[in-house]
């Protein structure tokens, strides 16, 4: 065949057609075989019980047949729209065949064909069909010049979002308890959220949330100021001892941070700050200078000539900082603020050591961790999920919103 259609790459057409035909044949080949009994997909469909998952089997058979028909028709009368349609049908067929991997057990058991079905009992017809489905989809996408990356992205997205989905579902689940033998809850409720804030609850979650918010806000302000000032000095000024100071910071940074927390705790006790939120803020700000690297890297890329011109015009260094450097550093400031804010929400070790069993000062990280202890998890699992959503939601929104700055900050740190 030497046909050409604008917008299509027909070199792969025959291969796609063969794939679609093999897929069609697989409907008739053994779908499952166990206990000395073998059934094809059509037989399984004929014997179906009364279960909503039968739709998947139904869809797989119909879409496979339709895809083969479309492939043959398009062979004789090739149009761009037709091949696009074929591609869509084939995408459905591939999706259904993949879903069969997760639903065959239920389909075959409700159909009464098998007692205790395991996926290793799936017949060779199914496996060849699965491979053929993906092969056909890929080759059809080659024909339509669509990026095959979509297949990988869809599969990865499902895997990546699955745990997130489970957190959200659990937080809305009416049935309490850690163990449930199913994925979709029997009943939905918002009570898990309400319970976190109700007065009868033993968990002062509202208090924890507020504590963390206060620490995060103060941390943002102080840490950002300290990081900006340190990075500015180390990047824009030269003085004796500068290199030594940077080396000392680097050496300190190589020790595992929480090794010295017990000493920090004793010092805080000495100045009477233990078990208070202020201690968290102070200690956070005190160590903030250690994180100057990324910011300094960013400041380093601002041309020196700007500073020199300002000095000639009579500006002081403090004015250069506030009038030139800061206005040029919007993305890095967002990066630090976001980092500081996030850090306060997920910091666990130091607050847990600082507050011990003083529950009213807990931050959400300590509180939520306390809830997942194996002695309490059965009681608090759904509430834990609700709390997790309440903590994660604002951060995710903030993050998605400010993503661009974060990327700029990150990639600024590693260039060259």
């Amino acid at each position: 065949m030497k046909k050409t259609v604008i917008g299509l790459n027909l070199d792969h057409y025959v291969r796609a057609l063969v794939g679609a035909l093999i897929l069609f044949v697989c409907i008739l080949l053994p779908y499952a075989s166990a206990d000395g009994k073998t059934v094809s997909m059509l037989q399984a469909l004929a014997a179906r019980g009364n279960s909503y998952v039968d739709i998947i089997l139904f869809g797989a058979v119909i879409s496979a047949a339709l895809s083969a028909v479309l492939g043959v028709v398009m062979f004789f009368k090739t149009t761009v729209g037709g091949v696009k349609l074929w591609q869509a049908v084939q995408a459905f067929s591939t999706a259904f065949f993949t879903l069969l991997l997760f639903s065959s057990k239920k389909i075959l058991e409700t159909a009464g064909l098998y007692g205790n079905f395991l996926n290793k009992n799936l017949g060779f017809g199914y496996w060849i069909g699965l491979i053929a489905a993906y092969f056909t989809l890929i080759t059809v996408m080659r024909v339509t010049r669509t990026d095959r990356g979509y297949i990988i992205l869809v599969i990865l997205s499902v895997i990546w979002l699955f745990p997130v989905l489970w957190i959200v579902i659990t937080s809305l689940r009416a049935e309490q308890g850690y163990y449930v033998g199913y994925f979709i809850p029997r009943g939905l409720t918002l009570k898990n959220y309400a319970n976190l804030f109700s007065n009868q609850s033993v968990l002062p979650f509202g208090r924890w949330w507020l504590n963390t918010f206060i620490v995060a806000m103060c941390g943002c302000v102080f840490n950002t100021m300290i990081v900006l000032m340190t990075a500015f000095i180390l990047s824009r000024t030269r003085f004796s001892g500068r290199k030594a100071f940077m080396n000392v910071l680097m050496i300190i940074g190589m020790f595992p941070g929480f090794m010295s927390l017990i000493a920090v705790y004793n010092i805080l006790k000495g100045i009477g700050l233990n078990q208070s939120l202020l201690a968290l803020i102070v200690v956070g700000a005190a160590g903030a200078a250690m994180g100057y690297h990324v910011t300094k890297g960013f400041f380093d890329t601002i041309p020196r000539a700007l500073d020199e011109a300002a000095i000639i015009d009579g500006a002081s260094r403090a004015q250069i900082f506030s009038k030139i450097t800061l206005p040029l550093s919007k993305s890095i400031i967002v990066y630090i603020v976001l980092g500081g804010f996030l850090g306060a929400w997920s910091d666990y070790i130091f607050p847990s050591m600082l507050f011990g069993d003083k529950q009213s000062s807990y931050t959400v990280a300590v509180g939520l961790f306390w809830m997942t202890d194996f002695r309490r998890i059965d009681t608090y699992y759904t509430q834990f999920a609700a709390g997790a959503v309440l903590v994660a939601l604002p951060i995710v929104i903030l993050f998605v919103w400010l993503q661009r700055f974060y990327v700029e900050g990150l990639s600024g740190a590693v260039k060259g």
Binding site: L101, S103, K105, K106, F117, L118, N119, R145, D147, G149, L153, L156, W160, L161, V164, W166, I167, I226, T230, I233, I251, I252, M254, F255, P256, F258, M259, S260, A263, N266, A285, A286, A288, D300, T301, P303, R304, I311, S316, R317, L342, S346, I349, M353, A365, L368, T372, F384, A385, V391, A392, I395, F399, V400, Q403, V407, E408, L410, V414, G416
Partner: protein, 462 residues
Amino acid sequence: MSGQANSVIDKEIYKGRNFVTIFTKGDIFSKLSYIFCGLANIKNGQAVKGSIFLVLEILYLVFMKAKGLRLIADLMTLGTKTQSMVFNESVGIYETVQGDNSMLILLFGVVSVIVSAVFLAMWLFSIYSGERARARRELGKHVPGFIEDVRNLADKNIHFSFLTIPVIGLLTFTVTPLIYMILMAFTNYDSEHQPPGNLFDWVGLENFKTLLSSSDRLSATFWPVLGWTFIWGISATFSCYFGGMILAMIINSKGIKLKKFWRTIFVITYAIPGFISLRFVATMLGERGIFNVLLQKWGFTEGALPFLTNTMWARVSVIVVNFWIGVPVTMLMVSGILMNIPNELYESAKIDGAGPVTIFRKITFPYMLFVTTPYLIANLIGNFNNFNAIYFLTAGAPNSLDYFKGAGKTDLLVTWLYKLTRDSNDYNLASTIGIIIFVISAIFTLITFSRSGSMKNEEGFQ
């Protein structure tokens, strides 16, 4: 007066005399200012500055006389009086008599040493400052007064004003505790020597010896934990690195529409605070967790899989879960760099007939590796010390009877360190491990330094 001219004069002044010759060649005021700080300043027209030096010195001496000297002397012994029960005849009962508290002695001793170090720095500074005032006056240059000095804090000497708070913070809450903990590695402050009931004492390098080369259980725990730390660090870093790079390349390839949408999907897992996603995934991986429920419901397995309870399974699980969390980070970072690769490179490669695999092997990957080596090594160090991933996921479990108390098969050095301080109070061992971690990090950082152009040549961009 411009900064340029100033620094030229400064250079001229300092060429003349150094720390020793300031004393030998100086006049009587310069000589005396080695004992009475600030005298040279006072004499040379900087009365306020000189007086401040003098007052600070007096304060320091008073502190040393009242407390400091004894505190530093106590460091030698770490306390001699054990807490004991003494019969009080007047009341007729046994009473506890407070002994020395080795821990506080060590802490306060370190504080005194730090205060002394700070004073030493001020002393040196005052000598040079006095010398500068003298030289300026003798050269007939203007000697800045106090007001002018203060004004300079916003300009020429801005590093003093901007760095004061960070330095004080670091000294109090980072340096002091760190020195205290480092010293602890050379004591026997373990679960059997807990103050205030007991004293602990200096033991030299004993802890390092038992940890590294004794035949007992400690050493039999240390080496396997170190080995797993390395395996974990390398597999976690490289799996996320390549995974993230491939994902970024897919999302950034020309044919993909809605790039921002796809990126956001993956960013969601990164934006959820680590402790939440890790704790939650840990519950999902449990024996009755949702993964096991679904695997059985879907007909993949007949019984529950030991995701977190079998050593091999648990180790693979933590690496896989870390992959789930780590890939989006690399993806975000790599996205920026990928866009910087010159497009001509790709086009000419395509004209020469290179396939996507060849392009990746010959262009994308070498370029990425070149740019991201420092990041990669920093990431490797970060993963050796990745406390969160392990502690929130398995807390080191499954525990093993072959290991020293509490350590488990997925414990990294850091999580073991944390358990030693929190659960069994073996601070000496924890500090020893901390120092070993430091040595490992230092070695890798040195490699980064020798490899990376951006660290060697920091002026390159300006």
